[in-house]
Symmetry: C2
Subunit: 344 residues, 2 copies
């Protein structure tokens, strides 16, 4: 189990969460939902979030917030949930066998924004926390999916999260940036979903990126190359998650401000609707959370609020050479070192 | 292996295909593609299919035909393919362990039509044939996905395929109709994809609907209740597939003729675009052929030509009571005995 650890630190046990860990994290997740919704309503100027509270028969529930037909946001969804039950589903137990025979608790906030203007990128965020018997872990990240190629937007997004990471661990950004590129990859299109950002899962302070026979190939690949991170306490990881969550508005709002007044026509709108199809393909074919949720009686409407309001498919589309659309494919749908991008 | 056979017939061996079985079936599949394309161009009056031929590195290839922006068809795709290779993928080998260590051959024709008018149903057809060492089998079917509830259309479609089935085996229609209802089911929506039609797989003449540890729960359920069909020869099954293929145009064209001149407005168009989202959800989340193709380097553009040209998602939509849209949900998205429907 520790064969992949190439450093000498003891990664065999996790630190113990405080007695009020669940309250602390769920309170933060709710605050994150609140602050994001407030920030987005201010940004949009017209759209308002409406809330649906829901309960889960097996335990827990959530509050889904949707904004439709805003000035800037064609659709935006920000969900908070807090659920518990007698046992984790088999797919997670396989990855965390120590949780076998224990009840579980999970809380998280997730968000997907589909702006109206093709010049403003779609963006996704998700942070989550699990406890199950002797184990606990944090997961999540944020990633940007532009339709038109503005390198400075990609660089700004990455640098903002890089700063949040650097405040917590010198290796976090480089590892979680690559994990994001590998996770948000459409194999059947040979494209990344967008310019990426951060992604991580199973962060329990033991420092290993990959443990057990679970299907996270990206983490397994990174583990081989990078080895383990230094062990961290629960409070260190919680602080990291908070920094990441709070980095979202500063990472995204300046991009929107820069692009919101650029005029566009049918060409740009049609390309946006076409590219939104990739978002649907990724979420329904690859995204573990979406597929898992759909197959285990999650609240379908909350899970699928990530899908865009209007989408187009076109047989055999390829962009014209030497157009902005071609530049998106050539540069922005492949992993790039955006944090170190330099204006020429 | 034969525990599920409750009749006394010997279902332990398959009849032998003729020496020219591959040529015979692939010729039929090509003719089926041709005749469907000709029939649809005549029906549409404006749209023309354009063809892309493609080759597969590992062996074989196909011809994809797409019609866009027709008078009646907003998009239609009819694909023929014929592929071979050294070994079947693990997912199929699990279901047909006798094929282990043998090369394989597969040929088939598939079609999805997305009409422009919300009053004309979307329709899907697929017939396929496999040979691999000592085993061979046919699979396929056709199913109808209306947006507005016309019981006579559903009844006509089912009766046409019922006649094709009855010419071949008295049990085929009732078994393959139910298999269709169970296969084309969106668990996360608790809806059938549409009014169904026929679906079957692994028909090798041995009569068993279910054999081995494969994931076809629908077939397993039917097997328990119905037991095995009588064993059939290769030529009987080939004749059945031909009858089914030839039944498509007579099953669909009269429905189009009845509905094509009904006027519609934004309400109906918006509902159609919304319901098309379910087609995307089914194909990307559940359809074995689509997922298998995407994950094994199939030709992505040919696989995903099944996706509609324009699609809408809307958070928490439910139809108004006592509307045609509500009737679709209440009656047409649940299994019904359409062949025995009576005009009141």
């Amino acid at each position: 189990m520790t064969a992949l650890n190439i450093n000498m630190t003891d990664t065999s046990k996790t630190s113990t969460p405080p007695t009020d860990s669940k309250e602390k994290v769920s309170q933060f997740m709710k605050q994150l939902q609140d602050s994001i919704c407030i920030g987005l309503e201010q940004l949009d100027g017209k759209g308002k979030f409406r809330e649906d509270s829901w309960e889960r028969e097996e335990g827990g529930g959530g509050r889904s917030r949707i904004l439709n037909e805003g000035e800037i946001l064609e659709q935006g969804g920000v969900n908070f949930s807090e659920v518990w039950g007698e046992k984790l589903p088999p797919s997670i137990l396989k990855q965390r066998p120590e949780a076998e025979g224990h009840g579980f608790y999970a809380t998280g906030t997730s968000m997907v924004l589909h702006p109206r203007s093709p010049y403003i990128p779609t963006v996704h965020l998700n942070y989550r926390y699990f406890e199950a018997g002797p184990v606990w872990w944090f997961g999540g990240g944020a990633d940007l999916t532009p339709y038109y190629p503005f390198a400075e937007d990609a660089a700004h997004f990455h640098r903002t999260f890089q700063s949040a990471c650097d405040r917590n661990h010198p290796k976090y950004y480089s590892v979680f940036k690559r994990w994001c590129d590998e996770y948000f990859y459409l194999k059947h299109r040979q494209e990344t979903r967008g310019v990426g950002g951060l992604f991580f899962d199973y962060q329990d302070g033991r420092g290993e990126l990959y443990r057990g026979p679970h299907p996270d190939k990206a983490a397994a690949k990174l583990s081989k190359e990078i080895g383990a991170l230094e062990p961290r306490d629960w409070s260190d990881l919680f602080a990291f998650i908070q920094d990441c969550g709070q980095a979202f508005l500063p990472a995204y709002i300046p991009i929107v401000e820069r692009r919101k007044d650029i005029e566009y026509g049918d060409r740009e709108r049609n390309f946006q609707l076409y590219r939104r199809g990739r978002y649907v393909e990724f979420n329904l074919v690859y995204d573990r959370g979406t597929i898992f949720g759909l197959q285990t009686n999650g609240r379908t409407e909350s899970i699928l609020m990530s899908l865009p309001p209007l989408v187009r498919w076109e047989y055999n589309y390829t962009p014209e050479p030497n157009t902005p659309e071609a530049e998106l494919y050539e540069t922005f749908l492949k992993p790039q070192d955006w944090a170190n991008w330099q204006q020429k």
